[in-house]
């Protein structure tokens, strides 16, 4: 389990969480390199289809924040 | 008189009030000089954690 590397698809709102992820970088916070970010104009843009599709393409987790 | 009127405004202070004045003026066709004594704009609001009543992040 310890060397398991999950694949996480992250949908981040341009105006808040995407900016927060930028800020984490500015602050040099370190975190595991397992998620890939898709920037969306607003979390309202997220349709359930995206989440299902992410799982279908092998995501171990989906992260939506906004 | 009118030909002597300048189309620019000096705004002293880059806090929330100064920034809003500057934005309104610039968006309405005036050149703005925004003066701030520190090295970044934002003022006191940038130091706040959250704002009520919505508890939004002040930043």
């Amino acid at each position: 389990m310890s060397d398991w590397e999950p694949k996480i698809t992250a949908f981040l709102c341009n105006w808040c969480s995407y900016g927060a992820a930028d800020l984490a970088g500015v602050s040099r916070l370190q975190y595991p390199p397992y998620f890939r970010v898709i920037r969306v104009p607003c979390s309202a843009r997220i349709s359930p289809k995206f989440i299902l599709s992410a799982f279908r393409h092998g995501a171990d987790g989906v992260w939506v924040s906004g | 008189m009118s030909e002597h009127v300048k189309g620019s405004v000096l705004v002293v202070g880059g806090g929330i009030a100064g920034m809003q004045s500057a934005l309104d003026l610039a968006d309405s066709g005036y050149y703005v000089y925004l003066l701030e004594q520190s090295s970044a704009i934002g003022g006191a609001m940038a130091q706040l954690d959250k704002t009520f009543p919505t508890n939004d992040c002040a930043m």
């Binding site: 104009p41 997220i46 599709s53 | 002597h4 009127v5 000096l10 202070g13 009030a17 006191a44 009543p53």
Partner: protein, 924 residues
């Protein structure tokens, strides 16, 4: 500063930054290497920063600066570590002070405030007891970017406190020592907020107690917040002034003795104490005011008057924010726009004379052809290249479908790289561009401009973030970071391949404004617009202009309202650009921002007005109560009725032996849980006036709390000194009013005395609530929301107080929230200033990122129409697709809510198409 309104000359000293902002890429290498630690003022000196620094991580501009007073090089002549490690050669130790001479038409002063420093005050032992902190320090302690990443720790031992006390009015409402007699207006609410957030951060077992004199929650939605703090969050509110703070040996804990409401002395132990410090004008600002020859008030704020709330005593110099008087964020934002409006009126002859226009470059029709993608991968000095294998990412990009060109750059954002990108686009006939670099939030516009300069559409661009969200956060895993960068580039390329050029919708703007409501705010808005040459149709439902101000006697500053109001009405009526429509209401409204078509109905006659913007200034009215014998006994009057007596020089007032004022009649009650904001000040001012014309009268003000915010507090003090008696009651112990024989009697339990006080009153003035008209028709016409109390809901409680979320519709005056004349007037001007940002353009051009409908698939369910906060979707009325949805691109903000809500898949969002996002998901 010299010169006159319209043409000033100002001498400015620009201090050196020692960092070239053009070159600095804010990588932070300099600060990392800088050996000198300095107290971090942004974090209230709770932690250290370096001598080369950015003010805070999200600072604008995000460029470093050297603190000359602490830099080792400036102190000792050597070091220059920052210079050595700066990858972009941005350090410039030779940077010099500059003296600038600016020629400007007007000046707006927004210098702000500083927090009161309680160090000189023995009561609080601030500076000696480490766990006594100021509220500004506590803000930083709460903040995720603060010294403890938002975990609440007390300074002495870094333990998480279990009990925190807030002490209100530190430096405010206090005429002793260096403190100030005025109320700082904001401390009650920020203390409540800090307590609520602290409990949220710390979980359930944190006990928060606020020691206060009067809780001043007089802003919009503040009373609800206060009630929730009490009832839902369990914050304790203790009405008592704490005379001293005593340490408990060396535990770090603190004892607060205080007198409770029953008059007994109690002691309570806390882990930490927060001092709710007030606002004050700095000596530097006071000096600046003297230099500029500007009058200050007793509290050292810029002197203004009620009918010119943002004009300083010097013509052409305007003021806003905390320097105009203590105030919160929304009021500062309102005044800021109001000051802008005043400057715009003064300088309207010179509009657009000093601004510059961008050169337009013709777009080539490349976008719809087969994708030819160019990928630019940035090293960002060593910021990306030091972790991610940039050449490997570049080579990988070259293998991706449709990629025709790849390269890597030391700094993709540099000016010479822009020239290269522009040249390559033309040479290689590229029609989609991907940049893998830092964050699009700061750099997307720059690259889009480069695309435009090369004749491409700005929307055939995708940026992916391999710095902030990759190299910076995976420093210790370079292989994984490189892998992630490749994935991100692959995702970006997949999206880019599906992109097409987007059009930005344009609409012409009709230059006329319709202002609904002819009270002070509506008139102020109209004058601010006509003063800039715009035509205004001012609609008033009554037969006269003036609104509620017609019923008012004097302002809290003692100014005569009718005299000033009459002058204002006259100037509006005689203004050739203002078309005043009395006895008129709105019958029908069509259209949207830039192009409204409104039908006005006046005495059965209809006429249609075309206009570009609308300002709602519909006001509010006095609540007519059913309690306290109102309407049953002639001695019981409302405040407006009392003002009428004052205006009529009612002789009866001179024979009044005892007068009683009852506050919060209909306000702060369960059915109307908001504070009407103006009544406390109005009661005190009326009481003082009554005392003046009838010095022998005994006057009682029965109140739940006195809310004389800002410099209005002086009136409260004056009233107490004049012998006016203030008796407090609560919602449970409301006064009883009854007739005993011929006498009108008021009985109220007095907690301080421990028994009821009976008063035989000749006059009973009720501070009745201010209630909105709840005009649902108007709300429907302009698709604007109302809150549960019936006041209109602005775009943003803090940052957009004078506008609606729907474009082209603005808000001011009491339709927003109860407010006094100066604030209503300022907001009228503010609404006008916001409106002029639209009216001053010939065309409104909107983003290309908007939703669109495929009508063939639309099922006409109406979900999109319902969910959109901006009223962009509507049903098509005519033609083959009648009944189907359509999106007005001018109103659409591109959030995508309608798209993800559409059950039939008829909607899509340009720039974030279903297919594009799916392609990215595929490539994760």
């Amino acid at each position: 500063m010299s010169g006159k309104p319209g043409n000033f000359s100002a001498e400015i000293l620009k201090r050196p930054r020692f960092v070239d902002v053009e070159k600095c890429i804010a990588c932070g290498a300099c600060a990392e290497k800088c050996p000198k630690k300095v107290d971090d003022a942004y974090n209230q000196n709770l932690i250290k920063r370096k001598a080369i620094y950015v003010e805070y991580p999200q600072a604008v501009p995000l460029k470093y600066a050297i603190d000359k007073d602490h830099c080792i090089f400036f102190e000792k002549g050597k070091c220059r570590a920052c210079e050595k490690f700066c990858p972009s050669k941005a350090i410039n130790f030779d940077d010099k002070e500059e003296h600038l001479n600016l020629k400007v038409g007007a000046v707006i002063l927004a210098p702000g405030f500083r927090a009161y420093n309680p160090a000189g005050d023995d009561t609080f032992k601030y500076g000696r007891l480490p766990n006594v902190v100021t509220s500004m320090e506590f803000e930083r302690i709460l903040s995720a970017t603060g010294p403890s990443q938002g975990h609440i720790r007390r300074p002495s031992d870094q333990k998480s406190p279990k009990k925190i006390a807030w002490l209100q009015c530190v430096g405010s409402r206090d005429v002793h020592r260096a403190a100030h007699g005025y109320c700082s207006s904001v401390c009650c609410m920020y203390a409540v907020k800090e307590a609520v957030i602290a409990k949220e951060h710390a979980g359930g077992d944190l006990d928060c107690a606020i020691f206060y004199m009067d809780m001043r929650s007089h802003g919009k939605d503040f009373e609800r917040y206060y009630n929730d703090a009490k009832e839902k969050h369990g914050i304790r509110f203790i009405r008592s002034r704490v005379p001293t703070i005593e340490p408990v040996d060396d535990t770090g804990d603190l004892i607060l003795p205080h007198v409770n409401e029953a008059g007994e002395v109690e002691e309570e132990r806390f882990d930490m104490v927060v001092l709710s410090v007030g606002m004050e004008t700095t000596p530097e600002v006071a000096r600046l005011a003297r230099n500029l020859d500007i009058d200050l008030t007793e509290g050292r704020f810029c002197r203004t008057d009620t009918f010119h709330p943002v004009r300083s005593s010097r013509p052409g110099v305007f003021v806003c924010g905390a320097f105009q008087g203590t105030k919160d964020i929304p009021q500062s934002v309102i005044e800021a726009s109001s000051a802008a409006a005043e400057a715009e009126v003064l300088l309207s002859a010179a509009r657009n004379t000093e601004t510059r226009r961008k050169k337009e470059i013709l777009e080539r029709r490349e976008g719809n052809k087969t994708p030819r993608i160019g990928v630019f991968v940035c090293h960002c000095g060593i910021n990306i290249g030091g972790v991610v294998d940039v050449p490997a990412v570049r080579d990988y990009a070259a293998t991706l479908p449709f990629v025709e060109f790849v390269t890597d750059n030391l700094f993709t954002c540099s000016t010479d790289t822009q020239d290269t990108i522009s040249r390559v686009i033309r040479e290689k006939a590229l029609n989609r561009i991907v940049v893998a670099a830092c964050t699009p939030k700061t750099h997307e516009p720059l690259f889009q401009e480069t695309l435009v300069s090369a004749g491409l559409n700005r929307y055939v661009f995708e940026m992916t973030n391999i710095r902030n969200q990759d190299s910076w956060v995976h420093k210790d895993a370079p292989d994984k970071a490189t892998e992630k960068a490749k994935d991100l580039v692959r995702m970006a390329v997949a999206k880019a391949a599906l992109m097409s050029p987007l059009e930005e919708a344009e609409v012409d703007v009709n230059r006329r404004a319709v202002v609904v409501g002819g009270g002070v705010s509506g008139m102020a808005a109209s004058k601010a617009l006509s003063g800039q040459g715009y035509q205004v149709t001012l609609v008033e439902r009554e037969a006269t202009l003036g609104g509620q101000a017609l019923n008012l006697f004097r302002t809290w500053r003692g100014e005569d309202i009718q005299e000033n109001l009459a002058a204002m009405v006259k100037s509006v009526e005689s203004d050739p650009l203002i078309d005043v429509c009395l006895n008129t209401e709105l019958g029908q409204v069509e259209g949207f921002v830039g192009n409204f078509k409104t039908t006005l109905t006046c005495k059965g006659q209809e006429h249609v007005v075309d206009h570009g913007v609308t300002i709602l200034a519909t006001g509010a009215k006095e609540f007519k109560p059913e309690e306290y014998l109102y309407g049953k006994d002639p001695r019981v009057v409302t405040h407006l009725e009392l003002d009428r007596k004052f205006m009529n020089h009612d002789q009866g007032l001179k024979s009044v032996k005892a007068a009683v004022f009852i506050q919060c009649v209909g306000s702060r009650e369960p059915q109307r849980p908001y504070c009407s904001r103006v009544c406390c000040t109005h009661a005190i001012e009326s009481a003082l006036y009554l005392k003046k014309i009838n010095p022998d009268a005994e006057i009682f003000v029965l109140n739940r709390e006195i809310r004389t915010y800002g410099e209005r507090e002086y009136l409260y003090r004056e009233a107490r000194l004049a012998g006016i008696v203030f008796i407090r009651f609560s919602l449970e112990t409301k006064p009883k009013v009854f007739v005993d024989g011929a006498d009108l009697k008021v009985e109220v339990p007095d907690a301080a005395l421990g028994h009821s006080v009976g008063i035989k009153a000749d006059l009973l003035a009720l501070a009745t609530a201010i209630v909105p008209y709840k005009d649902e028709k108007l709300a429907r016409f302009f698709k604007v929301p109302m809150n549960e109390d019936g006041f209109f809901v602005e775009a943003h409680a803090k940052l957009g107080p004078s506008e609606f979320a729907s474009d082209g519709v603005f808000l001011c005056g009491m339709a927003h929230y109860p407010k006094p004349i100066d604030e209503a007037l300022a907001q009228g001007q503010a609404a006008a200033s916001r409106a002029v940002t639209l009216l001053s353009r010939e065309k409104i051009r909107v983003s290309g990122t908007v939703a669109y409908v495929n009508p063939a698939v639309c099922s006409s369910c109406g979900v999109c129409v319902e969910v959109c906060p901006y009223s962009a979707p509507s049903f098509i009325e005519k033609g083959p697709f009648s009944g189907k949805a359509e999106i007005n691109p001018v109103l659409c903000k591109g959030c995508g809510l309608c798209v993800s809500s559409c059950r039939s898949g008829a909607l899509n969002l340009k720039g974030f198409e279903e297919g594009q996002i799916m392609a990215m998901i595929n490539e994760v």
